[in-house]
Amino acid sequence: MSRYGMVIDLRSCVGCQACSAACALENQTPYWSDKWRTKVMDIQKGEYPSTGRYFVPTICMHCEEPACMTVCPSKATFKSDEGFVLVNYDTCLGCKACMAACPYGARYVYDKKDVAQEKEVYGEASQHKKVHVDKCTFCQDRVTRGLEPACVSTCPTLSRQFGDLDDPTSTVGKAVSSGLAKPLRPDLGTKPRVYYIY
């Protein structure tokens, strides 16, 4: 089975936020509450004229040792067959233990207001019918159909790549095995499946 992962190349990201928009439409995330599964940080550093500006997309790392899963009292957070860290909306208690545990700030609450708003926007096609703690699914529903996650598929700068980390011929496999792409905070021991090129 493929060990799916993502490589984010900071060299080409321009902070256009196509990823955030694509994800919001594909996964019906609550943009109306400024909650996103993926965002692009706009970091400004240094003094003029040596100022630097860096765009850093953030997303769930789909850790192999997910801290959020360990702390979940209802086992609503689990790893799918593909190794994606997912949430069962039916059994999630909304206790937010996972939010406290996640070192990457990848989760948010899909609250009552959000559920109501979603129903209003999407009608019978709404995807989130209950209050729960929400997170990125790596677009499992797309990946199992042979597609890339929505954010990867639309990225105009090809900054996001998705594929089998164990496949030495894949773009992501090459970037990771060569050491070009590195995880964020490997010291935490969560073994992220999202890597960055910077």
Binding site: R11, A21, E26, Q44, A125, Q140, D141, S153
Partner: protein, 889 residues
């Protein structure tokens, strides 16, 4: 407790794109015109658009689309959509949203009765078009005005962008396309230099961005000239925070060094440019030795052959200088020996004159102008001159300063020095452009006429706009009001505007009754606006509000999709189908894509029942004006479509069997299918399946249709004109003015350099989430993304050093006062190290006013409330940054 398997099944979150049917379309959220596909499925019993993706078959955007492209589908479901014709409630004032619903018949009838009531003669009307109108409805709009005798179109991309920028490049290359011009081949370039263009790359034009990203990944060196650290500048290896308006000085210093250190493509300059042409100095002007025919087209040039030492004659129109008029080979010399004379005249090459002209543009001089260190300028010149392929981006959006055309022209000259046209890593012409050029050259050889809309490059605007300028083209003898204003200016000894193509120059005077033509007032009494938002797109907002509310203005009609700021000033609003709903009346080329390709839109969801396509609205007006036959004839003449087919299909539309959009679409499919050797059904099927049909790949085109190497370009001489013959023509026609000097000159921006501590240079630019001055900001997702970056996107960028002096902190509301015009706006401050201390910056994307635009109304500050009416004298480009501002808390 359920089993693990059950839990997993229960957890499977579906996505919007599951089980959708994909319908090909073209994005309408900016003029990059990306190929997209719309995912539709039935929700609550109604076919609904749920997701947009880039079309993977697109040679343009390669399956990608930006935040606007993604979020665009929500426009279809905007609760404030215009869904029924509206007529202003009598007694209410323009600007108030006070309309009553009406039927289409009533709306058309109202328009006709108002035209009659105000006795509006054809030249007393003007169309006003936005870029949508320009890109998708040019054949209809042009045919409509010529068949109804309306000599006026004001088009919003011209004075802001196309005429006010690209035209500068085009003077050198002969190019000109609607909006997208050339595609810079970032992905094959090793050195990339960008100036005054955040919009064209990172903020965001997807077709360019996908190529720029490849360059970044490959490690090409990127240098960005920008007074602020824009998204594009953030990706630079070297950000050069140049003093606003002085980019031309930087380019001249590069040219100075490259010419002197032999850092140019010598073979290219000799063969494909006019650098080796012999010229002499006459009354201080450099004039090439040339002969011309009665129409002024060059018939011969002279060069010194390096091999034989003889002076030879070159053909007047050609791609190459390697063959003379008699068919003999030669190698023209770039320089003639000192003291060289011809027929008793001291003669030099254009190259030598350009060496002389650029002598003063040293790096030390450029340091004084630009504020960038001379050593840096010199190093960049050496790097640019020694790296191949080196690329200077042609730029997107112009305006800003009186020198904009000169600056954009200098960029093209720099590109010519490295010989980068239709070469890997250079400026690539579009597939459509190559096709038009081939057809034009063939027709020229056979002595045949080419339909106006098939004219390549500069030939199109010169011919099409030329018709608007020439009173003899119109039975009523009136040119466009813009040309009439220019003529009146000249009569008063003012410079006027030489080429006010699709410009608003003189409109306010015409409305006020102050514009005279042939001793009579030239009035404008009615406006027909299509997808135009001049209250936000033009400068300043007060000028257009005066135009629209003036008592002399008898009728304002607006065709639109959402209640724009301008629609509020209409008397009649005609609701338009949006891009996801409509079948287009035409097939189009794939924008600036280098493959020759065809594309169009397919209706993805049912249009709102009371909305209509633009083609239908224009046909109804043509019928109302009694000009249907002439309209059909003009469409045929301009597009080359078969007249009998037009009549047959339009006949079915007048009988109510189909819409006029369907009629023209059917003719368009037949026309293109015939050219491709397909049936219309086959063509339709292919496009419905793929969205884009590649007719000839770029590689094939480059084998036989590369400009310069194989084909002459649409400049007067067919060569890359480093010395501009078109500008030289302006000198003959108008007398000398530095704006149209055909050689290499510098025009400093007219800016107060001795500023007080609270006085700043002013700059503006684009954000990636909203298009320039656009109504597409009224989108819940784009607005959420924008608000999350409120400081960067909606704030006034100001450097901390100056901000602390003025006691200004991020989030403070400050007043910005235009020191030239006195216009004032309020805006929140964004204190940042990302901008020059002597400069402030704001975005051009926000500040809409119509309260019906629920998400965007009142959010941010509108650029055009701060910019006065100032235009330059070639194309009436807006001088949108040629002033300083005072910032107070």
């Amino acid at each position: 407790m359920s089993s693990l398997k059950e839990r997993k099944v229960a957890a499977r979150q579906t996505t919007s794109s599951r089980d959708v049917e994909w319908v090909p379309s073209i994005c309408n959220f900016c003029s990059t015109v990306c190929n997209v596909r719309v995912g539709v499925k039935t929700i609550d019993g109604k076919k609904t658009a749920v997701k947009i993706e880039g079309n993977p078959n697109s040679p343009l955007n390669r399956g990608k689309t930006c935040a606007r492209g993604q979020a665009g589908l929500r426009q279809t479901y905007d609760a404030q959509r215009l869904t029924i014709p509206l007529i202003r409630v009598s007694g209410s004032k323009r600007g108030e949203w006070n309309f009553r619903p009406a039927s289409w018949e009533e709306a058309y009838g109202y328009v006709m009765s108002k035209l009659e009531e105000h006795q509006v003669r054809p030249w007393e009307m003007s169309m006003v078009g936005g870029w949508t109108s320009c890109v998708f409805y040019m054949p209809l709009a042009l045919s409509f005005v010529f068949s109804t005798g309306i000599p006026n179109i004001v088009a919003s991309p011209m004075q802001q962008c196309v005429a006010a920028g690209h035209f500068g490049n085009d003077l050198v290359t002969g190019n000109f396309n609607f909006h997208d011009e050339v595609l810079a081949d970032f992905e094959n370039a090793k050195y990339i230099l960008l100036s005054m263009t955040n919009s064209g790359v990172a903020a965001a034009s997807t077709s360019r961005l996908v190529r720029f990203a490849e360059a970044k990944k490959r490690g090409a060196k990127v240098v960005v000239l920008d007074p602020r650290l824009s998204e594009t500048a953030a990706k630079a290896d070297e950000w050069l925070p140049i003093k606003p308006g002085t980019d031309g000085a930087f380019f001249l210093a590069l040219i100075h060094i490259m010419l002197r250190k032999d850092l140019y493509d010598e073979e290219f300059l000799i063969k494909h440019t006019n650098m080796p042409f012999l010229a002499l100095e006459n009354q201080g002007m450099v004039v090439p030795l040339m002969e011309s025919d009665e129409q002024g087209f060059p018939t011969s040039f002279r060069v010194l052959d390096r091999i034989s030492g003889e002076v030879r004659q070159l053909p007047g129109y050609s791609n190459t200088n390697a063959v003379d008029k008699e068919g003999k080979n030669l190698v023209p010399a770039l320089e003639v020996p000192p003291g060289f004379t011809l027929d008793g005249h001291k003669v030099k090459t254009i190259f030598q004159y350009m060496l002389e002209q650029t002598a003063k543009f040293t790096p030390a001089w450029a340091e004084q102008e630009t504020g960038l260190p001379a050593a840096t300028i010199e190093r960049i010149a050496l790097e640019f001159g020694q790296t191949r392929p080196a690329l200077v981006d042609p730029g997107w959006h112009g305006a800003r300063y009186e020198n904009i055309l000169n600056t954009r022209r200098l960029q093209a000259v720099l590109q010519a020095l490295v010989g980068g046209f239709d070469t890997p890593g250079g400026w690539l012409m579009s597939g459509e452009y190559h096709e038009k050029l081939l057809a034009f050259l063939k027709a020229k050889q056979e002595g045949k006429e080419v339909p106006v809309l098939s004219l390549p490059g500069l030939q199109f605007p010169l011919t099409a706009a030329g018709k608007f300028f020439n009173p003899a083209e119109w039975s009523h003898g009136h040119p466009s009001f813009a040309m009439a204003k220019s003529m009146a200016d000249k009569a008063e000894g003012k410079p006027g505007v030489i080429f006010p193509a699709f410009s608003d120059y003189g409109l306010e005077e015409a409305v006020e009754g102050k514009l005279m033509f042939n001793g009579e007032p030239y009035r404008i009494k009615a406006l027909l606006m299509n997808a135009a938002n001049p209250v936000r797109h033009f400068y300043p907002d007060t000028r257009w509000k005066n135009i629209l509310t003036h008592p002399n203005m008898g009728l304002v009609v607006a065709i639109d999709i959402v209640p724009s700021d301008t629609a509020a000033y209409a008397d009649v609003i005609l609701p338009n189908q949006n891009y996801i709903e409509r079948d287009e009346p035409f097939l189009y080329g794939a924008g600036p894509a280098t493959d020759l390709a065809l594309t169009t839109r397919f209706s993805a969801v049912e249009p709102q029942p009371q909305t209509k396509g633009t083609a239908d609205i224009l046909f109804e007006f043509a019928i109302g004006f009694g000009a249907l036959d002439k309209f059909m004839e003009t469409i045929s003449a301009f597009s080359g479509y078969d007249l009998a087919e037009i009549k047959e299909e339009v006949g079915k539309a007048t009988n109510g069997e189909q819409t006029f959009t369907q009629a023209i679409r059917s003719v368009s499919f037949k026309h293109h299918a015939r050219n491709l050797g397909l049936t219309p059904d086959q063509l339709e099927k292919t496009l419905r399946e793929k969205g884009v049909l590649v007719v000839e790949a770029k590689e094939k085109l480059m084998e036989h249709a590369a400009i310069c190497r194989q084909l002459p370009v649409p400049t007067p001489s067919g060569r890359i004109e480093i010395y501009s013959l078109l500008l030289a023509g302006f000198v003959r026609q108008e007398g000398y003015r530095i704006n149209w000097d055909p050689g290499l000159v510098y025009m400093p921006p007219a800016l107060n350099q001795e500023k007080k501590p609270d006085e700043f240079f002013f700059t503006y630019g684009k954000t990636p989430t909203v298009s320039y001055a656009s109504t597409n900001s009224n989108n819940p997702i784009l607005m959420a993304l924008s608000k999350a970056k409120e400081d960067e996107f909606m704030g006034l960028w100001i450097h901390p050093q100056r901000a602390s002096l003025l006691n200004i902190m991020t989030g403070d509301t400050v007043t910005v006062e235009n020191c030239l015009s006195g216009q004032k706006v309020q805006i929140n401050a964004f204190v940042t190290e990302m901008i020059r201390p002597d400069t402030v910056f704001m975005s051009s994307s926000f500040g809409t006013e119509n309260p019906l635009l629920k998400y965007s109304s009142g959010v941010g500050t509108a650029l055009n409330r701060l910019v006065p009416y100032q235009v330059e004298p070639i194309v009436s480009a807006f001088k949108t940054q040629e002033f300083t501002v005072r910032v107070t808390k």
